[in-house]
């Protein structure tokens, strides 16, 4: 207890002073939380404040943001060639920098990072691990991470996870993400190690292999993406497996839009109460978002600053308007390839003015992510159709065509929507159009043969990784 107090004091001191945090100290705090849970069954008072930050005081939130932005900008100006130029060009006064001058600094776009990755790397940190995005927008982005980041992030993640009872000793986490997501895999494995849980990084293997592991391997937590989850649900149904065949207690997906229909089906099939849909992105790690029970996306205010910038005006999005998430991870949480005001092009809707009433009401929030900015459809009457609207409507079709395969284009005031034939099998063309109309989508359908379905929309689950076991011709080679 005395030691824990000293560790917490050291952590708080590091945060206030803006110095690098000792990852070993945070890892030992994870042990302390485990000991606390073993003795008391739950953490003590104010645990939420410890991990979520100053949720009850807007003044403290402003102070956290001002201090975080100032110290991050100062470091980047000194260590990152890209931002040294950018701050100089913007005439940024680093001594008094804060929220007031934030929007004088132009946003950083993906092209900057893709074309000049070396300019983003800080001079005072040796790179340790390169991780690549999956390249869903065309060209993958490579981000270098330091050893410090690779030790600190899992420690912070494990600390939050055990305090929220998201990860327990004895859990087994199965990770069905692309094997090239090196950082995500490393973080999952390291977090499990710190908590005393098991980790099974499988990759995007054939669904039957993943399902075997889920059913037989004692997996309690599944980490994947929505499209792959859809394949697992389909496979489980094909094999007649139900909730009683699994030991899962949590399913966590990210990287794509998760529709309520798929979430409900997965919860039913695998016997969990809900499918969690947090927000994260390689470029802005370790900043992340959590979905509350009312469907808001809440963004971590300890680790970074999140803005919702109107797609048209470049100003803060007004209530009800769509905006792109612009995120600044704070130093000392982001170290090697930091970004400042990174425009994720992930679009969300600004929530109406007024206080929230959800369980995370004190944490800043937007609507759930509705899709990528370049995938929005703008109809002639000005209406904007989001990928989330389309995916939710398609995946709610009675034929349960998961993951949704479609191509949508604007055609005057209507949507021209290409779907594979199986998506509306047994439902009828006219009935399907009425289904979309009921969802607020005036769509004219183009039905294509099923073998062209996969080409309509690529998903992360398309990046299947081969195994000898799934390619019988190669077995024994």
């Amino acid at each position: 207890m005395f030691e824990t107090g000293v560790r917490q004091f050291r952590l708080a001191l590091g945060l206030v002073a803006g110095r690098r945090i000792d990852p070993g100290n945070v890892a030992r705090l994870v042990d302390d939380v485990l000991a606390t849970l073993a003795e008391f069954g739950e953490p003590g008072a104010d645990a939420a404040e410890l991990i979520d930050g100053p949720t009850t005081s807007p003044e403290a939130q402003l102070e956290t943001a001002n201090r975080g932005l100032r110290r991050t900008a100062r470091r980047l100006a000194a260590q990152s060639p890209f931002y040294a130029r950018r701050f100089a060009a913007a005439g940024t006064d680093l001594a008094r920098f804060g929220l007031a001058g934030l929007r004088q600094v132009p946003v950083t776009v993906k092209a900057d990072l893709t074309e000049r990755p070396g300019d983003f790397r800080c001079a005072d940190v040796p790179p340790y691990l390169a991780t690549r995005t999956t390249g869903t927008t065309g060209r993958p982005t490579e981000v270098w991470l330091s050893r410090y980041e690779m030790e600190l992030w899992p420690a912070l993640g494990a600390l939050a996870s055990v305090l929220r009872d998201e990860l327990r000793p004895g859990d087994v986490m199965q990770v069905n993400l692309s094997s090239r997501s090196t950082a995500a895999l490393h973080l999952a494995a390291a977090s499990c190690r710190l908590v005393g849980a098991g980790c099974r990084p499988l990759g995007i293997v054939p669904p039957e292999a993943a399902l075997d592991a889920l059913a037989d391997g004692g997996t309690t937590i599944l980490l994947s993406c929505p499209s792959y989850l859809a394949e697992l649900v389909n496979e489980a149904r094909r094999r007649g497996l139900g909730a009683g065949d699994f030991r899962l207690r949590r399913i966590v997906v990210g990287g794509e839009v998760l529709s309520p229909s798929l979430a409900r089906a997965a919860a039913r099939a695998f016997g969990v109460t809900a499918v969690e849909d947090p927000y994260s992105m390689t470029e802005i790690a370790p900043v992340s978002g959590r979905t509350c029970r009312q469907g808001h996306q809440h963004y971590d205010l300890n680790l970074g600053y999140t803005e919702l910038i109107d797609l048209d005006t470049g100003e803060l999005a007004a209530p009800g308007a769509l905006g792109t998430l612009v995120v600044t991870p704070y130093f000392p949480y982001r170290d090697c390839t930091p970004v400042f005001r990174y425009d994720t092009r992930d679009v969300a809707r600004c929530l109406p003015d007024g206080p929230l009433s959800c369980e995370l009401a004190g944490v800043p929030a937007t609507s759930q992510i509705v899709g990528k900015a370049n995938q929005l459809l703008r109809l002639h009457d000005g209406e904007v159709i989001t990928p989330r609207q389309l995916i939710e409507a398609i995946e709610a079709l009675p034929g349960e065509p998961w993951p949704a395969r479609y191509r949508a284009t604007a055609d005057g005031d209507r949507i021209r929507l290409a779907l594979p034939a199986s998506a509306i099998a047994g439902y009828g063309h006219a009935e399907a159009e009425r289904h979309f109309a009921a969802a607020g989508l005036g769509a004219d359908l183009d039905i294509v043969p099923d073998d062209q379905g996969a080409a309509l929309r690529h998903t992360r689950s398309d990046l299947h990784e081969t195994m000898f076991a799934s390619q019988h011709a190669l077995a024994g080679a």
């Binding site: 030691e3 939380v33 008072a45 305090l163 004895g170």
Partner: protein, 319 residues
């Protein structure tokens, strides 16, 4: 005018001391158990008592007397005010509320400081001072024992603490009589950490540290294994902490240079407490955690403990 001093036999002194110790034991142990069963102190978000905390406590206990002996008396008083105020505030804020607890502390301390400076010239004055002192000491023992136990201190750790204090007591009471010097130096000053009484020209007392260890052992046994174990622990406390401590001057001479009899009570109690713990561990098995104890009392449901590799919780001997 000279006042004749009536001789008091060692038997008489022993019986009075036994009564004082037993009163302290009953008040501190009974109060600590009642508090433990009824009041929940607020815990910090992370942290539970562990073996290293016992070591830190022992180091602290070992160093503090030297600090008290070195500091000027007014500074010692300030330190004691700080210590007692912290203990009472933590312990009784859940009972009295934030305002009530400070009012209570103010009254207790104010009265104590006033009596220490104004009524010590007479026997009734001494007795009033001792009564007050005793109330403070019992309240502090109840609060601090619960702070540790509700903070996760286990019977195992209490047993090791008692064993460590046994060594401490032997050294500092028998071989290097620092405890006696401190008592002689600080007696009559406010917030003296002893419970006692004055009869005639003799003071009979038991220290706060002793009462704290007895309360810890008694309530930790209750938390770990239930009422039957607490009864056994109570028996050990009464025999070793009460009778043995009171009667041992018949066998050993613990008279110091002031002709005070100073018995190193923990050196008698500690080893027996440790052996009792070992017996309980062998007999009852693993100790209950705080969550298991609360669940056994039908308290607020605890989240499932992530104790994958722990053995099954023992059935409490009784609740």
């Amino acid at each position: 005018m000279s006042v004749p001093i009536s001789p008091v036999s060692l038997t008489e002194q022993t019986l009075v001391e036994l009564c004082v110790i037993m009163s302290g034991l009953v008040a501190a142990c009974g109060g600590a158990l009642a508090y433990f069963r009824r009041v929940r102190q607020e815990r910090p978000p992370i942290g539970t008592f562990n073996g290293r905390d016992v070591v830190i406590l022992l180091i602290f206990i070992g160093v503090l007397p030297f600090v008290y002996g070195w500091l000027p008396v007014p500074l010692v008083t300030c330190l004691l005010v700080l210590t007692f105020a912290s203990a009472l505030h933590i312990g009784y804020r859940p009972v009295l509320g934030p305002v009530g607890v400070w009012v209570g502390i103010g009254i207790l301390f104010g009265f104590n400081i006033w009596t220490s400076n104004h009524v010590m010239g007479s026997l009734p004055g001494w007795q009033l001072w001792f009564v007050e002192q005793s109330v403070l000491v019992v309240l502090a023992a109840i609060a601090v024992s619960n702070l540790y136990l509700q903070g996760g201190m286990k019977l195992q750790q209490v047993a090791w603490l008692a064993l460590g204090l046994a060594c401490y007591d032997v050294v500092f009471a028998a071989y290097y009589p620092l405890t006696g010097r401190l008592i002689a130096r600080y007696l009559t000053h406010p917030l003296m950490p002893i419970l006692g009484i004055r009869l005639g020209y003799f003071d009979y007392a038991v220290g706060l540290g002793d009462l704290l260890v007895y309360s810890l052992f008694f309530v930790a046994a209750y938390k770990a294994y239930g009422a039957r174990a607490a009864a056994i622990a109570g028996g050990v406390i009464v025999v070793m902490g009460g009778f043995a401590t009171a009667f041992v001057p018949f066998v050993f001479n613990f008279t110091n240079s002031n002709l005070d009899v100073l018995v190193p009570a923990q050196s008698l109690f500690g080893p027996f407490a440790f052996v009792t713990y070992l017996w309980m561990k062998r007999h009852y098995g693993r100790e209950r955690t705080m969550a298991e104890y609360l669940a056994s009392r039908g308290g607020p449901p605890a989240a499932p403990a992530p104790a994958a590799d722990q053995a099954a919780a023992p059935q409490p001997a009784s609740i």
